[in-house]
């Protein structure tokens, strides 16, 4: 019996030593943690110095030239919580910038890896910025790399930057120690404040592949060392084709009934203006077949708040005044929405997902006449969309007139 116990002991200890999963152990200091990635177009001259994944002669037929800029968090430098003492580390101390060039994303990342001792780690990636040029060329190759890697989360922000993506990512405001994290926080809060819909990397993939909805991404630009939300970039397939303005994004949010809301819109009334903020949105769709074409009726209900009025003459202290204001703003919104929808229909870009609803609600019609994304985009420009608003000012503020 004793001998058997001894043998068991030896087996157990060996197992403990051999099977403790040491293969996958990585020290946190030995990881090159990427927090932000910027993707720009590169020129041939830059790439020629950076062949990594293939010999030179095989690069003739490959299209697309990418310059990747990664922002790595330097372990130990980034303080957790609020910084103590007056001397905070400068941004340059907290992050490390690495560049790589390549014909594809993977190629460029490999070229970055070639310059680093530690293995690149994408688990903490917060934001990917692509320049407008790259977005216009198409993001299909970018998608593949990021979707294939398991450690990249679908909640990462993917944004299009006007001009140089690397420069946009490097903008370093005072509020955060790492610029990329500031950027992702900005985007997070923009959604919470109702500035734009939640379109993250995962949503981008879903919309891009879906047959009846086109993808959108936040569009940002640098304004004096600040990041400005300049609207949304619209895609057709994987290519950026159009830009919608911030006020149109508000309309988009209304049409899709996106919450949280909080967008502000200025309405002309009498001789002045009223600034209204939406508090809650709700939308109802009715999709019918009318004369062989789908007809969409939208009913948008918005609970709003008055934030400001510009002229003394505007009266809002009686119930009928508020009622009048409701009707007035409804009319303006209906007109603006109609214009916006017409604009999108002319460009044949259905970012609202009407196609998905037609596919869901009128499957027989879809199977017979539409079937593909290309067909839908064409049909989208021909269909009738009626819009009807129901705006209700719920809150007026603490000023009495």
């Amino acid at each position: 019996m004793k001998r058997r116990n001894k043998i068991m002991c030896i087996i157990v200890v060996t197992c403990l030593l051999l099977l403790s999963g040491c293969w996958d152990q990585v020290e946190i200091e030995l990881r090159a943690t990427i927090v932000g990635l910027a993707i720009d177009q590169a020129d041939h001259h830059e790439i020629e110095e950076d062949y990594i994944t293939h010999p030179e002669y095989r690069s003739a037929n490959i299209e697309g030239l990418y310059k990747m800029t990664a922002q790595l968090a330097v372990p130990g430098q980034v303080a957790l919580g609020p910084e103590e003492g007056a001397e905070g580390g400068a941004v340059d101390d907290n992050v490390w910038i690495v560049e790589g060039y390549g014909y594809t994303i993977g190629d460029a990342i490999q070229s970055m890896q070639q310059k680093l001792a530690h293995e690149l780690f994408f688990g903490h990636l917060q934001v990917i910025i692509v320049s407008e040029e790259v977005a216009k060329e198409g993001l299909a190759t970018i998608d593949d790399y990021f979707q294939r890697r398991n450690e990249i989360r679908r909640t990462v922000w993917l944004a299009v930057a006007k001009g140089d993506a690397a420069a946009t990512m490097a903008v370093s405001p005072k509020l955060e120690q790492i610029p990329a994290i500031y950027l992702s926080t900005t985007l997070d809060h923009a959604v919470e404040l109702g500035k734009f819909p939640e379109k993250r990397l995962g949503d981008f993939w879903v919309n891009q592949k879906s047959l009846g909805e086109e993808a959108m991404l936040p569009y940002i630009e640098v304004h004096d060392n600040n990041i400005r939300m300049s609207g949304m970039a619209c895609f057709k397939g994987a290519k950026m084709v159009n830009l919608i303005e911030p006020y149109q994004v508000v309309i988009y949010n209304a049409v899709t009934g996106f919450n949280p809301s909080g967008a502000n819109i200025m309405f002309p009334i009498d001789d002045g203006h009223i600034l209204a903020m939406s508090r809650n949105r709700d939308v109802e769709y009715q999709i019918k077949l009318d004369k062989g074409l789908p007809k969409i009726d939208l009913h948008v209900s918005v609970d709003a708040e008055i934030r400001e009025k510009s002229a003394f003459a505007i009266e809002i202290n009686r119930a009928e005044d508020v009622e009048r204001l409701n009707h007035h703003t409804e009319k303006i919104m209906e007109k603006d929405t109609k214009l916006f929808l017409q604009h999108m229909q002319q460009n044949q870009i259905d970012i609202f997902g009407f196609g998905e609803r037609v596919r869901a609600k009128l499957p027989q019609y879809w199977d017979k006449h539409v079937q593909t994304n290309a067909n839908w985009q064409q049909l989208f420009s021909q269909i009738t969309i009626n819009i009807n608003y129901d705006i209700n000012f719920e809150r007026i503020g603490i000023k009495s007139d």
Binding site: D24, R154, T155, W205, V206, K209, R357, K361, P363
Partner: protein
């Protein structure tokens, strides 16, 4: 005669059924439906579950005639000793193969997501070893193990569903009948789903459990409750995955439900990364299913030699290990899974049909004989 202490309670029986059926394959389940039937994949999954219910009922019918007898004994009573032994050993081998496929599927998920550097052989070895060690114990312990793990499967599962639910789109799960999909195509897809090894393992655990439950008369009730829980979990998980991703994106994912955990985001910092919590879920669902499959294979063989399965826990270990490590990648694995699933499903169906017919025939005969 078995004492009451040695027998499984109704709750343990339900837990065993649920845990064995909800397995690691749930991760890839929405993909089978989406690729073949589009949005009708949800309906196909449901039809698959209804088929599963029919099989469950068939087994309950077969065992209800001889509640105290195990699989081998029942087969022998119906088909004779020699044939009975051959069939039982055949099924034992069938479950060795099916379970090995699940072991490999589990290992593939692990190797792609978590243990990237660890050789797959090690993961397979550890898994087989753990399961073999558990198999040394009696069926009562099997009941307790499943009873213990039950909440670890249900709670994270429901949590995942409820967290992912808000980001779902209603239009992604419609139309119910799919776009341009024929009814026969939906039915074929549901067959493709029900042949997946984890359903077959869940099904045959009944043969192990029923001879050992306290009140065999309640086997039917337990089976129905178990089925309802399984259906609820699988349908909710499938529907939510469809609602969040839509058909086109699901087609692009190897494990859509795994990707679902990566889209969840909570504002509270320590809970921001819920993956770890869900990994626990996958490990346990994987373990319980593999455990059941392993036990079925070992028990059937032991029964045919009139032994207890606790005597031969390591008998098939090398076979499990070797079959599981033959595959190169998950593409190969899933192709094989469909092929072997169809074959074993056909075998299982024909056996169950024969048994059901004989049982009904015998019941009728005894019913006719009694009045005389």
């Amino acid at each position: 005669m078995k004492t009451k202490v040695d027998q499984l309670t109704m709750l343990q029986y339900i837990c065993i059924l649920v845990n064995s059926t909800i397995g690691i394959s749930v991760l890839s389940l929405p993909r089978w439906g989406a690729t073949n039937a589009g949005t009708a994949g949800i309906l196909a999954t449901f039809i698959g579950l209804v088929l599963f219910f029919i099989f469950l009922m068939a087994i309950l019918l077969i065992t209800s005639a001889y509640p105290q007898h195990n699989f081998f004994e029942i087969i022998c009573l119906h088909l004779g000793k020699t044939l009975g032994r051959i069939v039982t050993i055949g099924f034992s081998i069938q479950y060795v193969i099916l379970t090995s496929v699940i072991i490999r599927e589990f290992t593939e998920v692990m190797a792609t997501t978590l243990l990237r550097e660890t050789p797959v052989e090690i993961t397979i070895f550890v898994l087989v070893l753990t399961v073999a060690l558990s198999t040394q114990k009696s069926l009562i312990d099997y009941g307790y193990i499943n009873y213990f793990y039950f909440p670890f499967i249900i709670i994270p599962g429901l949590l995942l569903i409820s967290l992912a639910f808000p980001s779902g789109q209603y239009s992604n799960i419609l139309p119910v009948l799919g776009n341009g999909i024929t009814l026969s195509k939906i039915f074929i897809t549901s067959i493709d789903i029900v042949i997946l090894p984890f359903f077959q393992i869940g099904l045959f655990t009944l043969f192990l459990v029923i001879p050992n439950i306290k009140r065999p008369k309640k086997a039917l009730k337990g089976g129905v409750i178990g089925w309802l829980i399984i259906t609820m979990m699988i349908m909710l998980m499938t529907t939510v995955t469809y609602a969040v991703f839509g058909v086109e994106q699901i087609k692009d994912e190897v494990w859509p439900v795994l990707a679902l955990t990566r889209t969840i985001r909570l504002a509270i910092p320590p809970l921001q990364r819920l993956d770890v919590f869900f990994i626990l879920f996958w490990v346990i669902t994987g373990f319980t299913t593999i455990f059941s499959g392993y036990l079925i294979a070992t028990s059937f063989f032991a029964q045919s030699c009139r032994m207890s399965h606790t005597k031969l826990p390591y008998l098939f270990s090398p076979a499990f290990f070797l079959i599981a490590r033959t595959f190169d990648n998950h593409v190969q694995l899933y192709e094989f899974m469909q092929q072997i699933g169809h074959i074993t499903f056909a075998i299982t169906t024909s056996l169950l049909m024969i048994l059901v017919i004989i049982t009904l025939f015998k019941k009728r005969r005894t019913a006719n004989e009694t009045p005389q």
